[in-house]
C-alpha cells in the first residue's frame, strides 16, 4: 500500500498532439481516486502512464516514495483491471489468477493459498477450472478482479471495468468494488466516463476535460461547488441548467427582468459583467407568483421517473429542466413560478466558464 503522486505529468504523442497537458495530484495511501471525463479527455492515457503501458513525456509519477517513470510495468507493484477484462482465453480461471504469481516465482502452495482466498472473497470458487468463455460477463469481471487481488499490489488500476456490464450488474459490482477496496485497504485509481460511478466510488474525484484537470475534490464538494461550467454540466444528472445573465451589484444577478440572489459570488465584479448562472434541476423550488426573486418557467412536457418527475420547458427563452418529487407539483404544462436558494446559485464567467465564487 502506498500513496500515488503525479507531478505535472504530460503525454505528447509523436506529431505534437498533447493528450495530457500537465496533471498534478496525489492520492493518499488507501484512497480511492476516480478520474472522470468525456471520451478523449486523457483519463485513460493518464491511467496507462501510471501503469507503465504508456511512456511519460514529461513530469513524474511516484508510487510510494519511488519515482516510477523508468520502471517496467511488472515492477511497479500495480495490478490493472481492463475494460474488456483481458483474461487469457486459453487458461482456466485458476491459471488466469495464478499466472502473475508464477511469473514471479511464488512457491506453489502460496499461489494455491492466495488463489483460493481470492476465489472465496469473489465467490468464484465453483468456476476455478473453467475457461473464461464459459463464464458470464459478471463472472469474467470477478476473475479479472481476482487476478488483481492475488498479487497483493500497492495500487489497483481500473480502466472502465464496468462499462461492458448491463445496468443492474453494474450497480452491484460497483458496490462490491468499493467494499473490496475498503476491506483490502489498497490505493485505487479508477477511470470512468460514468458520473454516477465517479460520485459513488471516489473519495477523491478528478474531473478531466481536454487533457487538463478541471477540478479535484471530494465528490460532495465537486457537486456543491463545481469549479467550472464544464464540471457543473458533467457532474449531476440531469445536468445543471445554464442561463446567460448579468451581474447587478453585490451578490445580485439579473436574469432577464428578474433578480436572483447568489451567495457565492465574487464581490469585485462590475455591474453588467456577462455571466452564466447555473441552477441544478433538483434545487428548484416552487414560489408564489410575483414574489421577490421568483422566475417564470413555462412547462412544456413532463418526464416520469417514478419517485421524481422532470419538468421540461423554457425559462427566459432558454431550455430549462426542473426536478420535483412526484406529487409535489401538478404534472401539467403551463406557467410555474420558481425560486432557488441563494446558496445553490452557481455563477460562471460567460467566456472562460470559470466559477466566480468568493475566494
Amino acid at each position: 500500500m502506498a500513496q500515488v503522486t503525479l507531478n505535472n505529468v504530460k503525454k505528447i504523442y509523436a506529431g505534437g498532439v498533447e493528450a495530457v497537458k500537465g496533471v498534478s495530484f496525489d492520492i493518499p495511501d488507501g484512497g480511492f481516486c476516480v478520474l472522470v471525463g468525456p471520451s478523449g479527455c486523457g483519463k485513460s492515457t493518464l491511467l496507462r502512464m501510471v501503469a507503465g503501458l504508456e511512456t511519460i513525456s514529461a513530469g513524474e509519477v511516484a508510487i510510494g516514495s519511488r519515482v516510477v517513470n523508468q520502471v517496467e510495468p511488472a515492477d511497479r507493484d500495480i495490478a490493472m483491471v481492463f475494460q474488456n477484462y483481458a483474461l487469457y482465453p486459453h487458461m482456466s480461471v485458476y491459471d488466469n489468477m495464478a499466472y502473475g504469481l508464477r511469473n514471479r516465482g511464488t512457491p506453489k502452495d502460496e499461489i494455491d493459498k492466495r488463489v483460493q482466498e481470492a476465489a472465496r472473497i469473489l465467490a468464484i470458487e465453483p468456476f476455478l477450472q473453467r475457461r473464461p468463455r464459459q463464464l458470464s460477463g459478471g463472472q469474467r469481471q470477478r476473475v479479472a478482479m481476482g487476478r488483481a487481488i492475488v498479487r497483493k499490489p500497492q495500487v489497483f488500476l481500473f480502466d472502465e471495468p464496468l462499462s461492458n456490464l448491463d445496468a443492474k450488474l453494474r450497480v452491484q459490482m460497483r458496490v462490491e468494488i468499493k467494499k473490496l477496496q475498503r476491506a483490502l485497504g489498497v490505493t485505487a485509481i479508477y477511470v470512468t466516463h460514468d458520473q454516477v460511478e465517479a460520485m459513488t466510488l471516489s473519495d477523491k474525484l478528478v474531473v478531466m476535460n481536454g487533457g487538463q484537470v478541471e477540478q479535484i475534490g471530494v465528490p460532495s464538494e465537486v457537486y456543491r461547488k463545481p469549479a467550472s461550467r464544464f464540471v457543473a454540466t458533467f457532474i449531476g444528472s440531469p445536468p445543471m441548467n445554464l442561463l446567460p445573465a448579468k451581474v447587478d451589484g453585490h451578490g445580485i444577478i439579473a436574469l432577464g427582468d428578474a433578480l436572483l440572489q447568489a451567495r457565492d459570488l465574487r464581490e469585485d465584479l462590475a455591474t453588467g459583467t456577462a455571466v452564466e448562472v447555473g441552477l441544478r434541476p433538483e434545487d428548484i423550488e416552487i414560489a408564489s407568483e410575483g414574489a421577490a426573486g421568483s422566475l417564470p418557467f413555462d412547462v412544456e412536457f413532463i418526464e416520469e421517473l417514478g419517485a421524481t418527475q422532470l419538468f421540461h420547458g423554457q425559462l427566459a427563452g432558454k431550455p430549462f429542466v426542473m426536478q420535483a418529487a412526484t406529487g409535489d407539483v401538478a404534472a401539467q404544462a403551463g406557467r410555474l413560478w420558481i425560486s432557488v436558494d441563494p446558496d445553490k446559485v452557481h455563477v460562471f464567467h460567460a467566456e472562460s466558464g470559470v466559477r466566480l465564487g468568493k475566494a
Partner: protein, 293 residues
C-alpha cells in the same frame, strides 16, 4: 423464427450453384474419375491395346522400392519445408507486428515471393546455387563446401527445400500476422503487468493463442508440399540426381510422361488424392473443435 431468407423449390438454388458446380465437375470430378478408372487399366507402350487389370497397378507400385523412396523423399521434403516455412514466417510476423518505422514496407516486401510462379522461383534458385554460375554456390565452394546439387542428392534436396520454403513463407507470414493482430492488445498488456518477460509472454500467451492458425497452416503447407512444389522440383532438379528429389507428385508425372506407364501413374495419383482427402478431413474435424478458443 428463421434467421435467413429461404428459397422455395430447387430451381433457383440449382441455377445459382450451377456455374460453380460445372467448374468443379469439369476440372475436378471428371479428371479424378478418369484417374481412378485409368488406375485399373494396363496399356501397351504404343497405346494400341488396353486391358482391365483390377489392382495390378497398385500391386506393382507397392512392390517397387522406388515408390517407397519417393514416399520417404516426400516425408523429408514436407517435414523440412513445413518446419522452416512455419517457423521463419512466425518469426517474421512477430517482428512485423511491432510498431516500428518501415513496418509497412517490410510487410509488403515479405509478401512478394508468393506472387512468383513456382517454375520461376525454381529458376531463381538454380541460378543462385548453380555450381559453376551461381553466386551463392561459389561462396559455398570458397568456404570449402563441395556443393553440387547436380551430382549430390543431399545438396539437391537442400536446394528444393530452400526454394519451396522461400516460396511458402509469404503465405504463412500473412496468416500469422493476421493471427497476431487479432490477439487483443489488452491481453498482452495484462501479461506485461503480470510480470511476463517477452519470451515467456510469447510462449505462454501468444503462441497458444495462435495455435488455430498454426494448425491450419500446417495442413495447408503439407498440401502445398505434396502438390504445388511440382514446378520447383521440375525446374531445380527434375527429380534427380538419380531420383534423390523425386517426390510422390513428381513421380506421378515422370512415370506417366517419361515412363509412359499411365496406369501406374494414375494409381499413384489416386493414392495422393486419398491422402489429401484424409488431411483435409482431419483439419475440418479438429479446427472446429479443440484448437479454437
Amino acid at each position: 423464427m428463421q434467421k435467413y431468407a429461404h428459397f422455395k423449390g430447387l430451381t433457383i438454388p440449382l441455377l445459382l450453384l450451377l456455374p460453380q458446380l460445372m467448374i468443379t465437375v469439369v476440372f475436378f470430378y471428371w479428371p479424378a474419375s478418369q484417374a481412378v478408372w485409368q488406375s485399373f487399366l494396363l496399356q501397351d507402350a504404343f497405346g494400341i491395346s488396353t486391358e482391365f487389370v483390377w489392382f495390378e497397378n497398385y500391386r506393382d507400385l507397392f512392390a517397387k522400392p522406388e515408390y517407397y523412396k519417393a514416399l520417404i523423399n516426400t516425408g523429408i521434403f514436407s517435414f523440412f519445408v513445413a518446419l522452416f516455412s512455419l517457423s521463419l514466417a512466425l518469426l517474421f510476423a512477430v517482428m512485423a507486428d511491432r510498431q516500428i518505422r518501415g513496418a509497412e514496407v517490410y510487410k509488403t516486401l515479405l509478401i512478394w515471393p508468393y506472387a512468383v510462379a513456382p517454375a520461376i522461383a525454381g529458376v531463381l534458385w538454380i541460378f543462385m546455387f548453380d555450381p559453376s554460375l551461381g553466386m551463392l554456390a561459389r561462396g559455398l565452394q570458397s568456404l570449402g563446401v563441395n556443393w553440387n546439387p547436380r551430382l549430390n542428392g543431399n545438396d539437391a534436396m537442400t536446394l528444393v527445400i530452400l526454394a519451396a520454403t522461400w516460396k511458402q513463407i509469404s503465405y504463412n507470414f500473412l496468416f500469422f500476422l493476421a493471427g497476431l493482430q487479432s490477439i487483443p492488445k489488452s491481453v498482452i498488456e495484462a501479461a506485461v503487468i503480470d510480470g511476463a518477460r517477452p519470451m515467456r509472454r510469447f510462449w505462454t500467451i501468444v503462441f497458444p493463442l495462435l495455435s488455430p492458425t498454426t494448425f491450419f497452416l500446417l495442413v495447408v503447407n503439407l498440401v502445398y508440399v505434396f502438390f504445388d512444389t511440382f514446378g520447383i522440383i521440375d525446374t531445380v532438379s527434375g527429380g534427380g540426381p538419380s531420383g534423390a528429389t523425386e517426390t510422390l507428385v513428381y513421380k506421378v508425372y515422370s512415370d506417366g510422361k517419361g515412363g509412359t506407364n499411365l496406369g501406374g501413374s494414375a494409381a499413384q495419383s489416386v493414392i495422393l488424392l486419398a491422402m489429401v482427402i484424409a488431411m483435409t478431413a482431419f483439419q475440418f474435424r479438429f479446427i472446429e473443435r479443440k484448437v479454437t478458443y
